[in-house]
């Protein structure tokens, strides 16, 4: 059909342009990071000692403040002792891109320092499971409740004030309580993600439901639809693309609660990995883990967006976005 040919023709150049922008969006911060790491006169507030010279407390490989290094140079010069030699360096908490890039690989291949501790991929899998269950449990209750609140004014009046109140309570505040009730393993972590997601979810989805065009509902009623079928055959399909978008945003929200959730009880998952690596000052691994979280979150969202396009071919918001 003509329309389809036109659409594919139009979408091709714009998709290409979109990819360029996406690439640029990532390239800019990476370039900045490279500049700070590899151009010695940008920042580099430390000096890495290569030869301690006459300074007794310097050791090769040691990082010292630049001012301190200069003081020592002066002292040594006055004392007539051999001068220390060093190169300008960044602090240990800012590894260079290539170190982090290497860590992205080695973090997966290096055995954990403690023998019974999980490998990185096991930690990640554990985190994903916690997110999954927290989000699924929240959605099972939150989505239907949100849709009902958006449809029936009485129900929304009855439930929303409390939900509104509860959503201002920071989810981590319930950490200790969750541990007392649910033990120290995954229970309280899933509970924190649930609390962090659920109350926003009810409000967001109720709002989305309320935005459904009333003409569509009225049209359905004049066609003989009533009661429960209005919800199942009109409201739900009518809001589905928006509901799906809401869920994608809420899932991102759930990820932000992950780190806090995993600190509760026995530290686990990716958070455990990060805290362990930071303890051993393997900051390149810390960065690698943070990047992996980002990749999983962003990647899954891209995937869900693609799936959404397939699922809702009638959704025009997407057309507007890609045009």
């Amino acid at each position: 059909m003509n329309i389809r040919i036109l659409l594919t023709y139009l979408s091709r150049p714009s998709r290409y342009r979109g990819a360029v922008f996406t690439l640029g969006a990532f390239l800019l911060p990476v370039l900045l990071w490279c500049a700070v790491s590899y151009v010695p006169f940008i920042w580099h507030p430390m000096v890495k000692v290569e030869n301690p010279g006459g300074v007794d407390y310097f050791t090769p490989g040691m990082l010292v403040d630049r001012s301190e290094f200069q003081d020592q140079m002066k002292e040594m010069r006055q004392a007539g002792k051999p001068l220390p030699v060093g190169v300008r360096a960044n602090p240990i908490y800012l590894p260079a891109p290539h170190e982090v890039a290497r860590a992205l690989y080695t973090a997966f291949t290096t055995a954990p320092e403690q023998r019974d501790a999980p490998w990185l991929h096991q930690s990640l899998w554990h985190s994903i499971q916690v997110i999954f269950w927290g989000f699924v449990l929240s959605s099972v209750v939150g989505v239907p409740l949100g849709v009902l609140c958006g449809t029936y004014v009485t129900l929304s009046r009855l439930s929303e004030p409390f939900v509104e109140f509860f959503r201002y309570l920071p989810a981590p505040a319930f950490g200790a309580l969750a541990v007392a009730v649910l033990g120290i393993y995954d229970g309280p972590k899933i509970a924190i993600i649930f609390i962090g997601t659920f109350f926003q979810q009810v409000l967001v989805i109720a709002n989305t439901t309320r935005k459904l065009d009333t003409t569509i509902l009225e049209a359905a009623r004049t066609l003989g639809t009533r009661g429960w079928r209005l919800i199942t055959h009109v409201v739900v399909p009518g809001i589905l693309p928006d509901l799906y978008r809401d869920q994608r945003i809420l899932l991102g929200w759930a990820w932000t609660y992950l780190i806090v959730a995993e600190l509760i009880g026995t530290s686990s998952g990716i958070t455990w990995f990060i805290t362990q690596q930071a303890r051993y000052q393997h900051f390149e691994n810390v960065y690698a883990a943070i990047i992996i979280i980002g990749v999983i979150g962003f990647g899954s969202d891209l995937l869900f967006e693609r799936i959404g396009r397939r699922l809702f071919p009638w959704d025009r918001t997407q057309e507007r976005k890609s045009a």
Binding site: M1, A219, T222, L223, P237, G238, P313
Partner: protein, 319 residues
């Protein structure tokens, strides 16, 4: 008709500019109306009243509305903005409750929306998540038809509105006129007793609108369907209607029921016939009364300001 009997002086407008009175009917037209009156009354509205509470206090949207619509009659409702014509049709559809009076469809009071009254809305009311065919199948499926029979009916009605080829398109892929044709098919597939149309062509461009009007008349001629059609377009009302219900605003009341003297079958050429022009002159006189015009223009919300700030260079005149 008992609503309003025009006095001889009222019947005069138009006489001055060489037009016949809009009350004059050719024998064929008179015969047609006599036949129409013999037909069964499908819709009867008795002493209908609608009040609602707003911030400004209680407003009376409709007062003492009385009229009947006979089987296979085409009735247009016309009136200035704010006369409650949309409220009226929404009450007839069962989407709003009236405060007093009766709405009877085949003698039975209307209590809520139902498939016996099809409705076509001004805005796009198609279900965006369903293809054109599925949109039309919606009614039959909701009313317990099997998928097969619903699909068969949908195909039939899509052919009727000449959209068979677009059965698998989504509404957003269609033009405005096509969408309204789907909406008409979707309403008609339920075989309603009456088709309620709330300014269905109001959002269309002039050309498409003319085409849709012709199409609608064609459908109406070939079906056992009664139509109540709301519009604010005088030409549209005269072109389509057997009778025109003229409402006035604040409160909404029936001002006059005009029997359109333009013979059927209708065609766009009739726009310039004396009967057509006489009827239009009468409608104009009713909706924009000449004596009130001066005051209204000065005070009304739509009045133009006396002076407009000039944003062009001095001497750069277009008139």
């Amino acid at each position: 008709m008992n609503e309003h009997t025009p006095t001889p002086t009222e019947a005069l407008p138009g006489a001055g500019n060489g037009l016949p009175s809009y009350l004059e009917q050719s024998p064929a037209v008179r015969e047609r109306f006599a036949q129409l009156q013999q037909r069964k009354v499908i819709l009867e509205v008795r002493d209908l009243q609608k009040r609602y509470k707003s911030l400004q206090g209680e407003t009376e949207a409709l007062r003492n509305i009385n009229f009947q619509v006979h089987r296979r009659e085409f009735v247009c409702v016309i009136g200035p903005s704010g006369c409650g014509k949309s409220t009226l049709i929404r009450i007839l559809a069962g989407l709003e409750k009236h405060t007093a009076g009766d709405v009877l469809l085949d003698g039975q009071p209307v209590t809520g929306p139902g498939r016996d009254r099809g409705m076509v809305f001004q805005g796009y009311s198609l279900f965006p998540w369903l293809t054109v065919k599925r949109n039309v199948m919606f009614g039959p499926l909701m009313n317990g038809h099997s998928r097969d029979s619903a699909e068969r009916e949908a195909r039939l009605w899509l052919d009727m509105v000449n959209l068979g080829k677009f059965a698998d398109a989504y509404p957003h892929q269609l033009s405005g006129g096509m969408r309204q044709r789907v909406a008409i098919a979707r309403a008609l597939v339920n075989e309603p007793r009456i088709l309620l149309m709330d300014e269905p062509f109001g959002a269309l461009d002039a050309q498409t609108r003319a085409k849709m009007q012709r199409h609608l008349l064609k459908i109406w001629r070939n079906l056992d369907i009664t139509v109540l059609f709301i519009t604010h377009d005088l030409d549209e009302a005269i072109y389509l209607a057997d009778r025109i219900l003229v409402l006035k605003a604040n409160p909404g009341e029936v001002q006059e029921v005009i029997e359109v003297p333009v013979p059927r079958p209708r065609s766009p050429e009739q726009f310039s016939t004396p009967e057509f022009r006489a009827t239009k002159a009468r409608l104009e006189a009713l909706i924009h009364p000449p004596e009130a015009q001066g005051e209204e223009e000065a005070e009304g919300e739509d009045a133009l300001p006396e002076k407009i700030i000039r944003f062009t260079n001095v001497g750069d005149n277009v008139e």
